[in-house]
């Protein structure tokens, strides 16, 4: 067993144990129905979290994802409902726009050397503001194509439904997992996250890669926005508020190091599923209020950060500071 997979194994193990505990209390949770709904209900979060994983592995952060989801949803809804365009024409268009938006942020981050945190914050304001200016209300999407896709599903044994959007999320995880771990671009992302200076000295095209990373994150934000619009059959400017934090939480819980250079796309899937598990458990319980979700996710986040710290600071942390006179 390769040592670098240990954090991933730990996360997976925790998910399995947590799921087993939930099932032991509510046997009803052990069904393909619940599993299928896991995937459907968290599809937009999962897709956005894949983008966040790339950004975080490269040592950056993207706070604009939630706003991009809102903006894409609104633009999609306007183009389909008000202008009467076919969704299949609209989708590539909004995805391209989203990718351009991200590329612009990446360019500012790299060429103006501004911390990603503040650039994507500005991007968040901009996207959320544009969406709110376009419309204040939720725009319903009532197109035959939408009705078809949202009711499309595979029947799983046991009555569960693997919906089209759930399947899309799994496909995104698979595809981008391969990109991260099996392509040159993926290696560049890890290299920049490990140490941007040495990456540049080794010949990694840091500028192009940084722009591509943020374009990819916003592209997936756009895809997540489309999924969200399919999920709710509407475009709403305040959709997915705070999703950036949930996706960062999913990435961290999935074992990706927030300082960059280390992480797994698959781990993020587990992180998303663990959050879904917490929500489902609270729904099953019925007596716990929804705010426990936030406390539980905050607690999980803390535990995993602590774990990462213990594992990684032993090796290469700021040891000189620890021994300093304090």
């Amino acid at each position: 067993m390769n040592a670098r997979y240990r954090p991933l194994m730990a996360t997976t193990l925790i998910f399995i144990v947590a799921y087993a505990l939930c099932v032991s209390q509510y046997p009803g949770m052990w069904s393909t129905r619940v599993l299928g709904n896991f995937l459907t209900d968290n599809a937009f979060l999962g897709v956005a979290a894949v983008g966040a994983t790339f950004v975080i592995i490269s040592g950056g952060i993207d706070l604009s994802v939630g706003a991009v989801i809102g903006l894409t949803g609104v633009v999609t809804a306007i183009l389909i409902t008000r202008l009467g365009l076919h969704p299949l024409v609209v989708f590539p268009l909004v995805l391209a726009l989203a990718a351009l938006f991200g590329a612009a942020m990446g360019a500012v981050i790299h060429f103006l050397r501004v911390p990603p945190f503040i650039v994507t914050l500005a991007g968040m304001f901009l996207a959320r503001g544009l969406a709110s200016v376009l419309t204040q209300d939720s725009i319903p999407i009532d197109h035959p194509f939408y009705r078809t896709v949202s009711s499309l599903y595979f029947k799983l044994p046991g009555g569960g439904r693997l919906s089209a959007i759930g399947l899309t999320m799994l496909a995104v995880f698979l595809l981008f997992g391969l990109i991260a771990h099996r392509t040159r671009f993926g290696s560049y992302v890890y290299a920049i996250g490990g140490n941007p200076v040495s990456a540049a000295l080794m010949g990694v095209p840091t500028g192009r890669t940084t722009v591509a990373i943020y374009a990819l994150s916003s592209f997936l934000g756009g895809l997540s926005g489309i999924i969200y619009s399919l999920y709710t059959s509407a475009g709403y400017p305040l959709a997915a508020v705070g999703i950036e934090l949930d996706s960062i939480a999913a990435v961290v819980i999935g074992g990706t190091l927030l300082t960059g250079g280390y992480g797994f796309i698959f781990g993020t899937l587990i992180g998303v599923m663990l959050q879904g598990l917490v929500q489902t458990f609270i729904v099953f319980d019925g007596t716990l209020s929804s705010w426990w979700t936030k406390i539980a996710i905050g607690f999980l986040l803390f535990m995993f950060i602590l774990l990462q710290n213990l594992v990684f600071n032993r090796q290469n942390g700021p040891a000189h500071l620890r021994k300093g006179p304090a």
């Binding site: 503040i118 304001f125 503001g129 709110s132 426990w292 979700t293 936030k294 803390f302 602590l306």
Partner: protein, 335 residues
């Protein structure tokens, strides 16, 4: 040299504020009208400092944090927690002193928690404060049991809506806090310590600075400021709304500090300029409202302002770094 750079910065923010106020005056000629009624001042200008006070208070706490290369994302959530504590205590019939003490103590505890994670466990500030940002609103809802707790204690409401010497109470509190904090950091060595940690924490530690305790204290102060802002926000609406109190204000506070000229990369800082930054943001907000534009434009304008500031700062950076960049193609994490 420091005084010089500070004064040149000062003029930037003052010009910016004057510009914003001028635009406000052009689109809404009655902007500078201030009237005296019922023992207090009224007018758009007064409204700017009144509404801007919570962000200004947050910015006061955020300035030393950003100056030490940190950031506190949890201030909005801590505001909600402090508001929830204040509301439940006053509803339970506790006197004002106990209510305030409890709310502020909880807020300081939140700040200490952040500081503990950052200074002693060595977790990145961004991540450490994210925990409380996510969990904080849940805690606040736990305290209020999911409902909006309303109260009618006149003493507590006075903090949010009362007035002192004609000025609204929140503005008075913000002003006192700013003056107190500014003199504390500039009349003692505290300011230098903060700048030393922000410039190079290891070096500061080796020169004998107790950087851990200092960082802990700085985050506790940030928590205290968030607590004060939270009590004001709750007193203003006479209730604690765990979901919406202080929502997005952490971003406004960071923006105010950045407008105030404190670099996100640590080092130089100024508390009064951060407060001025908060006033500029509020002047833009109020300007958009009084000129009849929908409030949604606010976000776009804010995004535009951030970008302009970043590009201006970067152009200045670029001159110095131009030569270095030609040698090393990537300079984001230059040692």
């Amino acid at each position: 040299m420091k005084a010089q750079s500070l004064s040149s910065f000062f003029s930037h923010q003052v010009i910016a504020l004057a510009g914003v106020l001028l635009i406000n005056w052009m689109v809404f000629p009655g902007f500078f009208d201030v009237t005296w009624k019922d023992g207090r001042l009224f007018g758009s200008l007064i409204d700017v400092i009144n509404r801007g006070a919570p962000v200004a208070i947050l910015a006061i706490g955020m300035t030393p944090i950003i100056a030490t290369r940190g950031v506190d994302l949890s201030v909005g959530a801590v505001m909600a927690v402090a508001g929830a504590v204040a509301a439940t205590f006053t509803v339970a019939g506790h006197p004002l002193v106990v209510t305030l003490a409890a709310a502020l103590a909880v807020a300081i505890a939140c700040g200490l928690w952040n500081g503990l994670l950052i200074a002693f466990l060595g977790i990145q500030p961004f991540v450490a404060t994210l925990v409380l940002m996510v969990a904080g609103r849940g805690l606040a809802q736990l305290i209020t049991e999911g409902s909006i707790v309303t109260f009618s204690d006149p003493a507590l409401i006075f903090i949010g809506t009362g007035s002192l010497l004609g000025l609204p109470m929140p503005a008075v509190i913000a002003l006192l806090l700013m003056v107190g904090a500014h003199f504390f950091v500039r009349r003692t060595a505290m300011g230098l310590f903060i700048e030393a940690i922000g410039t190079n924490r290891s070096a500061a530690t080796y020169t004998g600075l107790r950087s851990r305790s200092l960082i802990l204290a700085i985050y506790a102060f940030g928590g205290l400021c968030a607590g004060i802002a939270g009590v004001i926000a709750a007193a203003d609406i006479r209730g604690a709304d765990a979901n919406n109190a202080g929502l997005w204000l952490e971003l406004d506070a960071i923006l105010a500090v950045v407008i105030g000229g404190t670099s996100l990369l640590g080092g130089r800082f100024s508390i009064p300029l951060s407060v001025l930054g908060a006033v500029i943001i509020q002047a833009m907000n109020t300007g958009i409202l009084v000129s009849g534009f929908p409030p949604e434009f606010n976000l776009i304008v804010k995004a535009g302002v951030i970008m302009i500031i970043l590009i201006l700062q970067s152009a200045r950076l670029g001159e110095i770094a131009g030569a270095i960049r030609s040698l090393k193609p990537f300079g984001r994490k230059m040692p």
